[in-house]
């Protein structure tokens, strides 16, 4: 399995950074950039573009190839591949590479990468062999090889003394750190912290589809345990849960000992340093109801497909469509407290003239005016119309428990070819809440003498499609 290379495009579709290519034809990367730039304007809705684009061969002697691509900030990263390769391999590598870039530069944009292009080139060189095989992708190891940009290193480089050369090029063998000295591939050796801390964030996402009668067709909760470890030395952690049976279909960071999880559903691991995702899981509501005590992912007892998580709000959409537009009224009643509730509806091509009133309960709201992006409202919720994506968006920053909100409005549409989506997309977030109420029992750290400071936090997000 190998990819052909990597190309980073800026907003205008011009390449800013590209890796070396194993193909001999110099036109090969250009073909892929062109294929992507041609496919982009043809998309039916902005962003609705097939992530795997077929690229026909340049001439008869060549073989066809495919261009896998993902969006990353305001950029696109293309990953051309050819031959007998699994596209998932390309996407997995792209995701890994984007994670590494995040680790190095924080928020990603074309400007950030242009500012640090030499570091990006070094990263590319270390993560991707010229044959297209991933090399070192663990952020902990990479940090030893490619120095993250910091003011200190810039100062030193101005002073002519590169910190790399002092760390690496000397005879610093083994014990003094340096690359590849750690016996554990994912963990840096010889870490020292003044205060040892470890935090676990459990982030759960509800994904659901509700039909026009308000019946839940499907709903599932997917969780992640995001971890930030700042621990000295080589700590060996053991994380146990009071109710591990509520989760199933798990995926783990390579540091987790799989057979230990299989045996007693506890996570035993030597963590990497810094941020990482320890585990991913699916919440099984039926397991908590029935007394299925122990269900490991490997056991693969097909659970009943009808285990639905209740949707924490009720939406009553009423839409009427006419030849030249339509009117709509959405009524939302919450069953729990949310933050940042966003309701979106796609109005179809050629929609415009959106006028809405957003109110809380029976109160009065403001009326917006026509325009490309019209905004109205304050504490009663606000609405905007995105003329590029043809989406009317209704936002409510804080939604208390069992409160009612209404959005009333109308729109016009030109052309008979416009068809609004028969569904609303609802997204929300709720802090200090988890759907699964998965509870950490305790965290034991062995192998080191200190007692780390520990923190656990839950967060819920949701993405619900409500049809009308």
């Amino acid at each position: 399995m190998a990819i052909d290379g990597l190309i980073i495009l800026d907003t205008t579709g011009r390449p800013i950074i590209q890796s070396g290519f194993r193909s001999t034809s110099p036109a090969y990367p250009l073909l892929h950039v062109d294929a992507f730039n041609n496919a982009m304007p043809k998309s039916h809705r902005p962003g609705d573009i097939d992530p795997v684009i077929y690229v026909p061969p340049y001439n008869v002697a060549d073989s066809p190839s495919a261009c896998c691509h993902v969006e990353c900030g305001d950029m696109r990263i293309l990953c051309p591949m050819s031959g007998d390769v699994d596209p998932l391999f390309g996407f997995a590598f792209l995701q890994t590479f984007i994670d590494i870039l995040h680790e190095y530069f924080g928020a990603l944009s074309a400007a950030t990468l242009k500012d640090n292009f030499d570091v990006v080139y070094q990263l590319l060189e270390e993560t991707l062999d010229s044959g297209g095989h991933p090399l070192t992708t663990s952020p902990n190891t990479l940090r030893d090889i490619v120095l993250p940009p910091s003011l200190l290193s810039k100062l030193l480089s101005v002073a002519g003394a590169n910190i790399n050369s002092t760390i690496n090029s000397g005879s610093g063998l083994g014990s003094a750190g340096g690359p590849f000295s750690s016996p554990i591939p994912w963990r840096k050796a010889g870490l020292r912290y003044n205060s040892n801390e470890v935090y676990f964030d459990m982030v759960e996402e509800l994904k659901a589809i509700v039909n026009k009668h308000g019946t839940t067709l499907t709903s599932s909760v997917w969780g992640k345990i995001e971890t930030n470890a700042k621990l000295s030395g080589t700590p060996d952690c053991l994380l146990t849960f009071t109710n591990p049976h509520v989760i199933t279909d798990c995926a783990f960071h390579p540091c987790v000992r799989l057979q230990r999880w299989k045996r007693d559903s506890s996570l035993s691991f030597v963590p990497p340093d810094g941020h990482f995702t320890l585990a991913e899981y699916r919440f099984t509501p039926s397991a908590s109801a029935t007394s299925a005590r122990f269900m490991s992912a490997g056991a693969s007892v097909a659970p009943s497909a009808k285990e639905n998580v209740p949707i924490p709000f009720i939406l009553k959409p009423a839409v009427e469509l006419t030849e030249s537009g339509g009117t709509f009224e959405f009524k939302l009643t919450s069953r729990m407290a949310f933050e940042a509730l966003v309701v979106e509806m796609y109005l179809g091509e050629g929609a415009g003239g959106v006028k809405c009133v957003a109110t809380r309960g029976d109160g009065n709201g403001n009326i917006g005016r026509r325009g490309d992006v019209v905004t109205s409202g304050s504490a009663s919720g606000s609405w905007t119309f995105d003329a590029r994506k043809m989406v009317v968006r209704w936002e409510i920053p804080v939604v208390p428990l069992s409160s009612t909100w209404t959005l009333r409005g109308s729109f016009t549409s030109s052309g008979s070819k416009s068809h609004p989506a028969h569904a609303l997309q609802v997204r929300f977030a709720a802090s200090s809440y988890t759907f699964s109420s998965l509870k950490v029992d305790q965290l034991k750290v062995t192998g080191e003498v200190y007692k780390p400071y520990k923190g656990v936090r839950g967060r819920a997000i949701g993405s619900v499609e409500w049809r009308w």
Binding site: Q18, L88, H133, S169, F252, P254, L258, E448
Partner: protein
Amino acid sequence: MSAVYLNTLSENASRLGMRIQESLAEHSRELTIKTSSSLYLEPDDKGKNIRKQLDSSSDREKLDAMKRLVALISKGRNVSEYFAQVVKNVASQNLEIRKLVYIYLLRYAEQEPDLALLSINTFQKDLTDSSPLIRAMALRVLSGIKVPMIGSIVVLAIKKCAADMSPYVRKSAALAIPKCYELDASHLPALIGIISTLLRDRSPLSIGSVAVAFEAVCPTRLDMLHQQYRRLCRILVDVDEWGQIDLLNLLLRYARTMLPRPVQEEIDSDVKFLLTSAEPLFQSRNPAVVLAVTRVFYYAGPPSYHSRMVQPLIRLLHTSKEIERVVVAYVLAVSRSAPNLFSPFYPQFLLRTDDLRQVKQDKIKVLLVLANFDTHQAILREFIDCADDPDDEVVSDAIRAIGKCAHSIPDCTQQCLTALITMIKNHRDAVVSSAVMVLKYLVQSQLSASSSSSFAAVAATPQQSPLTIISHLARRIDDIRHAQARACVLWLVGQYSASNEPSSGPQGVVEWAPDVLRKSAKGFASEPPMVKLQIITLATKLLVLCPSDRTLCLISGYVFSLAKYDLNYDVRDRARMLLGLLSGLGLSEAVGAKDPDQDSRGGVILRREQVRLVLFEGKIGVVDAEEELDLNVALGSLGMITHKPMHGDSSLPDWLERGVESSLRDTEDDAPPPPPPMTFSSSAPLPQRSKGLASPVVLTPSGGSPTGASKPQWTDLDKFYEDEDDEEEEDSESEEEDEQVAEVEAEESAEGSEDDEDSDSSDEHNSSHPGHR
């Protein structure tokens, strides 16, 4: 150890001090600090001073020049002209400069082979550097220089690195092998030798790259794996994620080539061992690894194992949009061969409006495959909902799926027809046209198989029999505006208008048919050619059925005279042909289209029954328009996603009926291990003992994974950090091992046992802590 450490530290410190002093003296006049590298990407860099900078003695100048060069590369400029100057810096003390030089060399070495030779001495020296990073980098660049002349030097370098202490360097050695082979295939025997050494490597870190080299250099030499097969299975969990993918594919190919075919549920112990070893990897965070395991289960596992890949694939669906796109296509391929696997999970494939178009279309296909007696109600409702999608292509796919549903599940035919007939009243072109096409397909297939059971069920309800559907369509002809749909309805009306029942209209024709002709004749001139063709066909058919009716003759005459002078030559030709057919009926006068020189032309004149046969039976057979071409590509290949043949798509070899002798795979490693550690349950699978015996491997999901119970290896990290229980085992280890690392291990585990008791419970940390933002 600490003395060495101190030494290095002081050495580095003094070096830093010197460097700072030097450069401060040198650059004291320049006080501005460049805050970002983007300046290098300014468009007006013409590369004027680069040469001078590269030749300068200051590291800073060189670094600046190299950055400018890399910036030029990324702008797509050819900067090979600086090759000579760059090569000189390959031995720079500054690691950052050196790395940039390597980046440059790897891109241009091919174009300047002679100059690249200048750098080879440096690389050879670097191969003995104390830092594994430098050694690995040197080998990478050395093998990247595509100069056939240095082939033997590269082979030597690879051989040296393959025996390196650091697994990272061994990994680079493995990756260098395919490049060396590409450069000069004559080194094959030497390279195969190195591969077989590397295959015996005890470290799981490099083994993935060895698999890459194996596949590239000697893919047919699977016999080299006999002795390693079981060990490779055992270390699978400890290999890095990218290596796992290559290793799994290699082991799968080995199994299909060397092991006996699983017959029903009787599978060879070695196949079973591969499945057991691979199963924990379903829990990998890397989607490509999960798919590689799926491939192993799908292509090597008996049907009873297939259910285990369902949940992991469904988990992948929720990872990201891009991955969902690919995985849905794979699920479609799997479920076509085994629809029952996924059918309980059909709600996972319901469409979301914000899905990508490709995903929606594939999901519709998946749902169609999953529709069975239990699920068809819900799936049909989903298709009907999809007919409201904003995307026309998705709409027509969904409606077509309704038709196929009706065809394959007789129970829901009634429901499908009702839904389709409702859709005809829709205002949307795409909906109406697809619905009409599907109705046509259904009506045709039902009438042609009217004796079959699927039709009997429908015929029982008279108001929805195929003929009623046609009459329904015929009455709505004015509402059907889409050209193709209109043409289709007209054809249906003509085709099925024969009737023996007495009616108020013309004899021999169903009651509603002539009126359709009347309505369409009115607007004949403004219809598109496709519809015109069908109007004249309808007129001809009605005439043949009922030649005596005066009104019909007049309308047909009108239609034919318009058609004769139509702008479109297809319409003119068709009219002439049909008139020729009709000449035998003696109607030419009535139709008003008598050909003046008909008599002189002669030829065969058909009787009415013959004409009827030509018109009505000429086109028979229901054709389902789109049948997807099956490329017969394997799961997990590009061709399955693009639906186009991709060069290099390889299919897996078929099983051997008997397999090769199992004793070939026996090694000393498989000798009974020391008593398993106390921590593992007694049901933990034991590794293979000896040939031919009934396998002691127990496939219980609750048991320990195979690595757990296997013979301890120094690189097994799980083992490495196992509690002190393992210490006695470590003592009993008698194999030759890399001394250095064994030493490290002993140190570490001693350290670990000291602190073992220091386990504190923390029941209260569940509440949110103030310090935790």
